[in-house]
């Protein structure tokens, strides 16, 4: 057995504030240097990298969108070939869904959730590091392939048989399928970390009814990921098996089925929309509370709405298949369930409006984005009700109407709140505020540019323009609207450009923020900006959902943890009663090796199935290195 831990001199209560900070930093810090940077497991450093990487992919995906708009600005344009266009729109969709939207929401949570629940690191921090490396590798594989004319050209949905062995020659579709594996492994890992962090590492006293709403949203999102993403893993693995070793999952001539793909894909694909949207719900709730200066109206209603959205999300997938000829009765059921999800969404909207109504709203940039969100998302919700109707959908399915609809929901519903969240939490992450003046321009340009770009697409769709066409004949007279859309897209792009510029500039030249520039009520604002490596010198204890508002003089904290090792508090699931002082793993380079070994195996397996056998040997080796005890104080029990 190891050293008895109960020696009084190593407990933090004996230390004054300065000495405690010094000792905690020695244990928790990430030293300077490349090696340490690669080995870090600090959720803040990884979260920052995650967020920055996701925004790089947003910018790249945006460039693809601009390229598409160039091609579509005029009828029968030849800015790029049909082949290139198909790669571009596939890349845009796959990149935005798998490399931007899901990761960026998880990235925000990786950074914020441990701070918001008042702990020192995320659960399974090494898994967290591994997940980031897998994510980066997946992005490199996809974009590397695209640069070498090997980008997938089968749509982000990769419907068989077009993506199958007979109609998708070469390795392009395999690249898509393996990119799925990379990003799903990383998303699933983060989901597991978040669930366990939220269940077991909350500050003492943070019972279920005191959890910040963003954290609730991330909890439900994580469960959605855990239950939905295996479906796409099953689907993409079946596809790659069909393509590489000749299985027949999707070959109707040998007992397979083409629609099986669509069922599996949308069983994942529809919850995916909520995986992106629910975190945004949490962000909006957070911003609404802080900037209307009052606790949220209908906390319980909001939580139940988020949970019921999560459950209903699994009952809707068939509404993506209304024109595939499934039995009409079944389709009517899915119309009902798709419509029903408007009810929890309505509850959320009404609760936010009630909060704003009875509060004292302060129109800082984050709240501007909330108003932009309300305007656009409610419209997206309305068109969502429209496409939920089977007969309505038969006219607009796979047209620009649907393109408009889901951009209203995903950009209006998720990206606007995300941008508001960036303005809101930027000072916490960097210690500096972004510019209020530039922010107003950003919000205005993005809001106006977005609506001018996407609203006319509703009309285009009704006027008969299908999606995923690389061009259209001049005689269809869609040209003028398309030109208008392309020009508006430039306004939208300029808004994003300004946003990136503001973020870069503010990193160095922003106004120093202080701990809590918005006088916000949740725990992440109880520590310095940016937070120290150990987040909190003494772990907070809470007695309300808005601790910083309800105890304005001093923060209640716990004492009695060891400062000589990485230690966090484990608390019970329902009422957050402290149960144990658990250690948290130290920095380690092994997650990186494991990610490299896994990446090699996954890419190699596109070329030969034996890669799965030989490639798993280095993975196993790396995993043993990862988990083998090193005899450090963290092993004490």
């Amino acid at each position: 057995m190891s050293v008895a831990p109960e020696e009084p001199e190593v407990l933090d209560r004996r230390l004054d504030a300065a000495a405690l900070d010094r000792r905690l930093d020695a244990v928790w810090q990430t030293p300077r240097g490349l090696w340490a940077a690669l080995a870090t497991v600090d959720h803040k450093i990884i979260g920052r990298r995650y967020i920055a990487t996701a925004f790089v992919f947003l910018a790249l995906g945006g460039l693809l969108a601009v390229a598409m708009r160039l091609q579509l600005a005029r009828p029968e344009a030849r800015v790029m070939s049909a082949d290139r266009y198909n790669q571009v729109f596939t890349m845009h969709g796959a990149n935005m869904m798998f490399l931007f939207a899901v990761p960026v929401m998880e990235a925000m949570a990786v950074y914020l959730v441990p701070l918001m629940v008042g702990t020192r690191n995320i659960a399974f921090p090494r898994l967290n590091a591994f997940s980031y490396w897998m994510y980066v590798a997946g992005g490199i594989v996809l974009w590397g392939a695209f640069v070498f004319d090997m980008g997938p050209d089968i749509g982000w949905f990769a419907y068989v048989p077009l993506s199958g062995p007979q109609y998708a020659p070469g390795k392009r579709a395999d690249i898509w399928a393996q990119m799925i594996t990379f990003t799903e492994v990383s998303a699933l890992a983060v989901a597991v970390e978040l669930v366990v962090t939220i269940f077991k590492q909350r500050a003492p006293g943070m019972s279920l009814d005191r959890i910040p709403l963003f954290v609730w949203s991330m909890l439900v999102t994580s469960f959605l990921i855990i239950i939905a993403m295996p479906a796409i893993m099953v689907a993409s693995t079946s596809l790659i098996l069909d393509r590489l070793i000749g299985t027949h999952f999707f070959n109707p001539a040998e007992g397979g089925d083409v629609l099986l793909w669509q069922h599996l894909f949308w069983f994942f694909g529809h919850p995916e929309v909520y995986i992106i949207f629910l975190p945004a719900v949490g962000m909006v709730s957070t911003l609404v509370v802080t900037f209307s200066r009052r606790p949220v109206f209908g906390y319980l209603g909001l939580v139940l709405a988020v949970i019921s959205t999560g459950i209903l999300a699994f009952g809707l997938w068939v509404h993506h298949m209304f024109v595939t000829g499934l039995p009409r009765l079944g389709e009517s059921f899915f119309t009902g369930s798709s419509m029903a999800i408007a009810i929890p969404s309505g509850v959320q909207i009404f609760c936010w409006l009630a909060t704003l109504w009875s509060g004292r709203p302060v129109l800082k940039v984050p709240l501007l984005f909330v108003y932009a969100f309300l305007f656009t998302f409610v419209m997206g919700g309305m068109t969502g009700v429209m496409v939920a109707s089977v007969p309505f959908d038969t006219q607009v399915h796979d047209t620009y109407f649907v393109v408009a609809h889901f951009h209203y929901v995903l950009v209006g519903g998720a990206v606007f709140p995300l941008m508001g969240a960036v303005y809101y939490w930027f000072p916490k992450i960097t210690g500096r505020l972004m510019s209020e003046r530039v922010g107003r321009w950003v919000a205005g340009l993005v809001f106006v540019g977005f609506n001018l770009t996407f609203f006319p697409m509703h009309l285009l769709g009704l006027a008969g323009m299908p999606r995923r066409v690389y061009t259209y004949p001049a005689e269809m007279q869609w040209g003028s609207v398309n030109l208008f859309i392309s020009l508006s897209a430039l306004v939208l792009a300029s808004g994003f450009l300004l946003f990136f510029w503001d973020a870069f500039r503010s990193l160095r030249h922003g106004i120093p923020a202080g701990d809590n520039p918005w006088d916000a009520p949740t725990l992440e604002w109880a520590t310095s900006s940016p937070p120290p490596s150990y987040n909190f010198a003494r772990l907070p204890v809470v007695s309300s959902a808005y601790p910083l508002w309800d105890e304005r003089d001093a923060l209640s904290v716990a004492t009695g943890l060891r400062p000589d090792r990485r230690e966090v508090l484990v608390s019970s699931v329902a009422d957050a009663r402290p149960e144990a002082r658990e250690s948290s793993p130290r920095n380690s380079i092994w997650p990186l090796w494991t990610a490299i070994a896994t990446s090699i195996m996954l890419v190699w397996s596109i070329f030969t199935p034996w890669a799965v056998v030989w490639g798993s040997i280095p993975i196993a080796t790396a995993l043993i290195g990862w988990f083998w005890p090193k005899g450090v104080p963290e092993d004490d029990a």
Binding site: D83, F148, D149, M150, P161, G164, P165, Q166, Y167, P169, G170, K171, R172, D242, R243, L244, I245, G246, H248, F250, N251, P252, A253, E254, F607
Partner: protein, 177 residues
């Protein structure tokens, strides 16, 4: 060392490019040149047209061209005599042993001009480029190591193992003839 690695990576990337390109249209002069096969007098072996290496031998190495060849194999009823490589009226192609040699120009000549004992000439049915596509594909049927660019199974009833499972010939016994 780093430089050598970079060069290697660059070459690999270029190879990948070539393998994945979708070249749907050749210029007419190149198309004409594709016909310039210098065969030996017995119609077996010889020199492929100069344009082929200049193009990077796309019909043997490019995934898109090979899959077009496979499409033609089904469309022009090659299966009628050769089945899916197992052979029937015509010889088996999967064994990897060919009466007129394994080089692609011989296969090209067999398809274009026909061969004795029943193999018809396809030069009036297929364009020269299509014959090259078909020849490239037919060559992959019989290879002992599957090419990474080779197509795999069809969305049809399976009468042979997937092309990616090379050497395919070893896996199924040739039909008794």
């Amino acid at each position: 060392m780093t430089r050598r690695l970079l060069i290697l990576a660059g070459l690999l990337a270029l190879a990948a490019c070539k393998r994945e390109q979708r070249e749907v249209r050749l210029d007419p002069p190149a198309l004409d040149a594709l016909d310039q096969v210098a065969l030996m007098p017995n119609g077996i072996g010889g020199a492929p047209p100069d344009v082929l290496p200049a193009l990077g031998r796309p019909y043997e190495t490019n995934a898109y061209q090979l899959s077009q060849g496979k499409r033609l194999y089904g469309w022009f009823n090659c299966t009628g005599c050769h089945a899916n490589g197992g052979g029937n009226v015509g010889p088996a192609l999967m064994e990897g042993w060919w009466r007129y040699g394994p080089d692609v120009q011989s296969i090209f000549a067999s398809i274009r001009d026909g061969r004795p004992h029943g193999m018809p000439a396809f030069k009036d049915k297929l364009t020269t480029e299509q014959i090259w596509q078909l020849a490239g594909y037919v060559q992959t049927i019989g290879t002992y190591a599957a090419k990474t660019a080779a197509p795999t199974r069809n969305d049809e009833m399976q009468s042979r193992p997937s092309e990616s499972r090379g050497p395919a010939g070893a896996d199924i016994a040739p039909p008794s003839r």
